[in-house]
């Protein structure tokens, strides 16, 4: 059995491991979340109603306003924050917020990370190595995406390794 390892161009924070909430959608702490209840609250968001606390969010891009720079820190102080956020593309606000709040963040892959990882997969992020490792729950996605990844020229950044 193989596991998927992705390499990111940008990363910060501590090594973490948790369940992934995955959506090809954007993210703003102000626009999308009920931060008191710890759930996605924006009706149009693909993760609406789901709890993000302690999870690894895998999303397309950072959206909207500058408030998230404070809000990640505030959420962290109440233990109501995601464990890590992974983006295809990130704006400075989320990076600044992650830096202040001590939240692991990763961005910049050679393929669409939201289509490579299955919702609910167990994921490990190692910012020092800039790697995102899918530990379980991703077999369908991995198998289904192998050909597309190679044709996209991303094989140098996406590795499949034997699971121990």
């Amino acid at each position: 059995m193989s596991e998927l390892v992705l390499t990111a161009r940008y990363a910060m924070g501590s090594k973490v491991c948790s369940e992934a909430l995955v959506a090809k959608d954007g993210f703003s702490a102000r626009y999308d979340l009920n931060r008191l209840r710890g759930v996605f609250s924006r009706p149009a968001h693909k993760l609406v109603g789901q709890s993000y606390v302690g999870k690894i969010l895998i999303l397309d891009t950072a959206k909207g306003g500058v408030a998230s720079a404070w809000m990640l820190n505030e959420m962290q102080s109440r233990d109501m924050a995601p464990l890590a956020i992974v983006f295809n593309s990130v704006n400075p606000i989320l990076v600044q917020g992650a830096a202040l709040g001590g939240i692991t963040m990763m961005a910049g892959f050679d393929a669409d990370v939201t289509s490579l990882i299955a919702h609910g997969a167990l994921v490990e992020i190692d910012p020092a190595a800039r790697t995102l490792r899918v530990l379980s729950g991703s077999d369908k996605t991995v198998d289904g995406d192998t050909d597309r990844l190679i044709t996209a020229g991303a094989s140098q950044k996406v590795r499949f390794v034997a699971r121990k």
Binding site: P43, V66, N91, G97
Partner: protein, 411 residues
Amino acid sequence: MHLNEEEQAMLAGEAGEVVRIAMQHQIMVGDFFGARDFVAVTQAHVMADTESLGQAGVMWLERLCDVRDELHRVRIPTITDPRGTDFTRADDLGQQSWMLELERRAIDALVKLGVSMTDTCINYQTVLAATRGEHVAFGDTGVVIYSNSINGARSNFEGGPSALSAGLTGRTPRYGFHLDAQRQASLRIHVDLVPKTLNEWGALGGVIGRLAGNYWEVPVIEGLDIAPTSDELKHFGAAMASFGSVALFHIVGITPEASRLEDVGGHKLAVRHRISRSDIDALTKSYALEKTVDVVVFSAPQLSMYELRSLAELCDGRHFKIPLLAITSPQVKPDADRFCFTERIEAAGGTVMSGMCFYQSYAREISEAKGWKRLATNSAKLVNILGGYGYVPMLTSMEECVNAAVTGELK
């Protein structure tokens, strides 16, 4: 990142503990984006309303002030975005005392850090507009996109912690829109209409923002063969930034870096989208969900003096059935009072507030306290934001908003 001698000294704490913390934060962000060094900035604009800060953010600011080395003051002009309340109108909004107390603590801390409490998201219209090529560290996405695009200044989105850090160190990491290469167009769009009203300018910005959908995309727009006003471009940019996280756009023949398409590399791009009236109508109709309205709000961005004048003219001789809130900056409010715009709006039953912005003022709690759910506005930015706060936001013209305040319904 390469640090010069002064920056190394700052990082070593020789300029005080607060500056050391600021440098450390800025280096983390700069390293993430691969910035090679810092660039000096001339102004900083800090977004620090207490709904965003929360208790944790206020305590973070207070800890900075507690450092007793007397070196914790900003070294460049540093101003603030709207606050979470207009203290004189807090009761009208159903805001609770704990919100006001948190605001007072945040203001006290920011003042101790040397920050000027301008409380505005239209500083480019009211305080000190940045000039072409000027490197700044601005918060508020609407301020950044306007300053980058219309003024030709250079800023990334600087959230509160980073903008305050820039104020304290006088610099910011050199990445993103501080770099020439990043300011080249990446998305060529042709527009086949000329918006007529501020809500249409906002809707057009929203459509382009959705198409861009990414901070790093730089739209170049052709087809707008007119000279838009500052207020029109304000709504246009604020919506584009809100819907798409866009920080810079060019309009050929209008914005300073794009006299010609070639100036921003647009000639190398194929037109990827053509936008017609049906596109902005579709965006507007997607928010026309209900007929009944609970509250009308003009905010996001704050209103200029001339928006307030237009509103005052529409309010003359009217009597409102539902609340109408018009929100402006502390710089504009005295003139609105002096020119009797405030009096005319409030004679109809409206309320003019200053120094805050509706969505930065505990909008969810206001909705619950006041029973306001169905909200009409002419701000595309506001409708984009308020969906996440449990509102049913509806986008229409200033005129139709005023009519809705009179009848309680949208046509």
